[in-house]
């Protein structure tokens, strides 16, 4: 192939393409392309030339890959602004073209490119890009401070956070670069009339389009606590059996949702109602991003139906409140609990105890005296395990209380922090006189309550997460940049609302 016929910028992309596909056979191709490329930093070009000319190393696909990742490394460190080609093509420019976005099945490169560019824009928005860049710069300067290792805990946290921030930035930069390269390559293929290359590039574009769509969802869960497991608590509103039954339905919805997602659930605490349902229950949900998803469910859920517990078949409205508490994995961020601040007691025990009593009930309640926060666990099979689980619940509650307190101190969360009160309804489930589930925050609605109550709530969760993150005024973020509406776990008094007859 004669390189002299090609535009200089194209050579590099041809190389890039081959690098990615491990198709390089000639060393000179790489050297000439790398040397002539203007988009790669000069330092990299020099070192690459040195690498290839000074050693007689056999070039394997593996070394090529490492060279290409080195290039990425240099470029992402040196500039955080959008990627551009020599011709000035950038993701923003692609967006400015306003190419129509067609269905995936339509083999139109403009549509693919526009879809990808849009996704990248959404991802950046969700990651709160300007904040992320600022934060990365701040952390970079912290990491390089000479005295940082005097406090190893802090240093560890900073370097961990720095790694996470840089990782996100590099990933997005990489996406931008990839898109531009695909587009350039496609233009090249067309200019050259290379239909094989064109076809392959189209395929690569389509792959990328699907890939960034998934990344959009991942970007919804970029909060610090999002990857954590969590507790979900459901409490029945006033109104007796009808609302206790509703609370049990809500809890069941989460159990089935968790099962669909492959999360593991354990019942921690359950106070059954006298006739049916539950007064209150807590489950632990283990799995990747359990908190990230479940936090979207916080608030009051309202049910309208003909009550099966009402002999005169009247329509009832019942309420159940949901709280979600992250279980922080990083021990260093835990609130330190003093043993002497705790009162640990057997819960609901009666009689002489000891040898005189045989019971499988070994429920434990732990009270944190300074804050009055309590946690109970009764569903484990030994007292020891009930105590351990109650302690875990207590720890998470105190951690969350502390997070909320700090957030208020920094007045970072004052806007999004809403108290869980019975007025804070997030979703309505209507079984009668018509059938509908509607999210009051996003206005997202479906007409099949049964599937929702069987755990099909992902669409509600995702629409809420995107709505709360993609809001315009959120784009510039608020410092922490990563905590959408979560609320304190403590159920406040549930007076006022409850189950009401609507005769």
């Amino acid at each position: 192939m004669c390189f002299a016929l090609l535009k200089r910028s194209s050579i590099r992309h041809f190389t890039y393409f081959n690098l990615r596909n491990h198709r390089i056979s000639s060393l000179s191709v790489i050297i000439s392309s790398v040397c002539q490329s203007q988009t790669v930093e000069a330092s990299f070009a020099r070192s690459a030339r040195h690498y290839f000319t000074s050693s007689s190393a056999v070039v394997t696909p593996k070394t090529l890959i490492s060279v290409s990742s080195l290039a990425h490394h240099f470029s992402s460190l040196s500039s955080l602004e959008s990627r551009k080609t020599s011709e000035g093509l950038s993701v923003d420019k692609i967006l400015d073209q306003r190419w129509p976005i067609l269905d995936e099945s339509q083999s139109d490169w403009r549509s693919h490119a526009a879809a990808i560019a849009l996704s990248i824009q959404v991802i950046k928005k969700r990651l709160k890009w300007p904040n992320l860049v600022l934060r990365a710069e701040h952390l970079s300067s912290e990491v390089t401070r000479s005295d940082i290792w005097e406090n190893p805990d802090y240093a560890g946290k900073v370097s961990r956070d720095h790694g996470i921030c840089m990782g996100k930035i590099k990933e997005v930069n990489g996406l931008e670069q990839e898109l531009i390269e695909h587009v350039e390559l496609l233009k090249l293929a067309r200019d050259e009339g290379d239909s094989e290359l064109e076809l392959e590039t189209m395929k690569a574009l389509l792959r990328m389009r699907r890939n960034v769509k998934e990344k959009e969802i991942e970007a919804l869960l970029s909060g610090e606590q999002d990857p954590c497991p969590c507790f979900i608590e459901v409490q029945a509103g006033a109104g007796g059996t009808e609302s206790m039954d509703w609370a049990a339905m809500v809890m069941n919805m989460y159990k089935m949702w968790a099962q669909r997602r492959g999360f593991h659930t354990t019942v921690v605490d359950e106070m059954p109602g006298e006739i049916a349902g539950i007064k209150r229950a807590t489950i632990k949900v283990d799995g990747d991003y359990a908190f990230g998803y479940a936090k979207a469910e916080v608030g009051v859920h309202r049910l309208v139906r003909i009550s099966p517990f009402d002999s005169s078949k009247r329509r009832h409205t019942s309420f159940a409140a949901v709280a979600v508490i992250p279980i922080l994995g990083d021990v260093s961020t835990h609130v330190v609990i003093k043993e002497s601040d705790l009162r640990i007691e057997r819960f609901r025990s009666g009689g002489a105890g000891g040898q005189s009593v045989n019971t499988t009930d070994s429920a434990v309640r732990i009270v944190h005296i300074p804050t009055g926060v309590t946690a109970t666990c009764q569903n484990e099979r030994s007292q020891h395990q009930n105590k351990a689980m109650a302690m875990q619940v207590l720890q998470s509650r105190l951690d969350q209380l502390e997070m909320a307190r700090q957030a208020q101190l920094n007045s970072q969360l004052t806007q999004s922090l809403t108290d869980i009160s019975w007025g804070n309804q997030i979703r309505t489930y209507v079984l009668h006189p018509y059938r509908m589930v509607k999210d009051l925050r996003t206005n997202y609605e479906v007409s099949d309550p049964d599937s929702v109550l069987e755990g099909d709530i992902d669409a509600f969760i995702l629409s809420f997460l995107s709505a709360s993150l993609d809001k315009k005024d959120n784009y510039l973020g608020n410092g922490t940049g990563s905590r959408p509406n979560f609320v304190p776990p403590l159920f406040l008094s549930c007076t006022g609302l409850g189950s009401m007859n609507q005769v």
Partner: protein, 376 residues
């Protein structure tokens, strides 16, 4: 033929067919399990240990809907009981019994817990034909739960195990089911050995070990070199304890000796770093009024402490001074209240000042349950 009719009744059970079902189930018990041990408490000592449900091979099968039907039936029995047991002798209430149904399924179904979770869902899986493997036949499940309700056979004997601390201890008739209160003795020992390395490497004795729970709990917190000698007079207890010790791989750390209290301990006299015991402490006159699960099923040998319930506790007090080394720790469980006061007084004032730091420690219900202290 009989079985298929039997199954048909399970699935179509309603409150009205309950009585009919019960009589069928009893019939089933007498046919399938002639050696049912629920009635013969400890009268016929068995030297072979009955394998608990959760450790058995899964040889049976059932569909999800069959299990669902069993669960519904079991819950119907529970609702027919209501608060009767609670009112009669402070026995288990419906909520507790329902939880036991779930735990029983956890032990019997060879599958992940999601299956058990599915079973507790009322609406969605009633017609589920998925087959799961069981560690006991469906018929045995019906019999077992019937024994739970009709005979008040303790849940732990039904499934053959008790979850105690982080252990699963195998139990059967003839052996006291370890109580949650007793878990605290291990906490106290843990605290003592964390402060004194010497005690952590010494010899500890658990007198009247029963299932071996206390001995195993302590053996697991001792350091290398630390050992436990656990004694019991009952042959059943020794074989069950030995099963449990083996299951936790502690044969090298725990030595089981059959005999009465201090009798098997002659060779370690005065060398013990610690001495713990949960001896029988219920006053004889209270035995008759005990909760049915305890009074009718658990071994009287492990419960009856004589006239004031103090017979064995006093025996322990009298011999502790000779058994413990200097600085050795003791912890005894008592019936609470005046009994623990009395024992603490004996150890403090009537022991020639052999002991120091004698304390009464309350359990998590606030009952003055334990007496602890150190050899001078």
């Amino acid at each position: 033929m009989t079985l298929s009719v039997f199954r048909a009744i399970h699935t179509a059970v309603s409150p009205h067919s309950l009585i009919f079902r019960r009589s069928r189930a009893s019939f089933c018990c007498s046919v399938n399990r002639p050696s049912s041990s629920s009635s013969a408490v400890s009268a016929t000592p068995v030297s072979t240990v009955r394998i608990p449900l959760f450790l058995r091979e899964a040889t049976g099968t059932a569909t999800i809907s069959e299990l669902h039907a069993w669960r519904k039936w079991a819950q119907t029995l529970v609702s027919s009981v209501g608060s009767k047991f609670e009112d009669a002798d402070n026995g288990p209430g419906p909520e507790l019994l329902c939880r036991e149904i779930r735990w029983m399924l956890e032990d019997v179904v060879e599958a992940n817990l999601d299956v058990v979770n599915r079973l507790s869902d009322e609406t969605a899986f009633g017609k589920d034909g998925d087959v799961v493997r069981l560690r006991a036949g469906l018929d045995e499940l019906y019999c077992l739960w019937e024994e739970r309700i009709e005979k008040r056979r303790p849940f732990q004997y039904l499934v053959g195990c008790d979850h105690w601390r982080d252990l699963v201890v195998c139990v059967q008739e003839g052996v006291l089911i370890p109580r949650p209160e007793t878990e605290m003795i291990v906490d106290m020992v843990e605290e003592v050995v964390s402060r004194d390395k010497r005690l952590a490497e010494g010899i500890w004795a658990d007198l009247g070990t029963g299932s071996g729970a206390l001995g195993i709990g302590i053996a697991r917190i001792l350091r290398n070199g630390g050992k436990v000698v656990a004694t019991d007079i009952s042959e059943v207890a020794i074989s069950v304890a030995s099963f449990n010790v083996n299951r936790y791989g502690l044969q090298d750390k725990i030595e089981l000796r059959q005999g009465s209290w201090f009798e098997p301990l002659e060779d370690v006299k005065g060398k013990l770093s610690g001495l713990v015991s949960n001896p029988p402490y219920i006053p004889s006159m209270n035995i008759a009024g005990l909760q049915a699960e305890v009074g009718q099923h658990e071994p009287r040998l492990a419960l009856d402490g004589g006239k004031d319930g103090l017979d064995y506790l006093l025996h322990l007090c009298e011999n502790s001074a000779l058994a413990l080394e200097s600085g050795g720790f003791f912890a005894f469980e008592t019936n609470g209240g005046s009994q623990s006061k009395f024992i603490a007084d004996v150890m403090t004032n009537r022991s020639n000042f052999s002991f120091r730091d004698v304390k009464i420690v309350a359990d998590l219900s606030g009952i003055q349950r334990f007496v602890t202290g150190f050899r001078q």
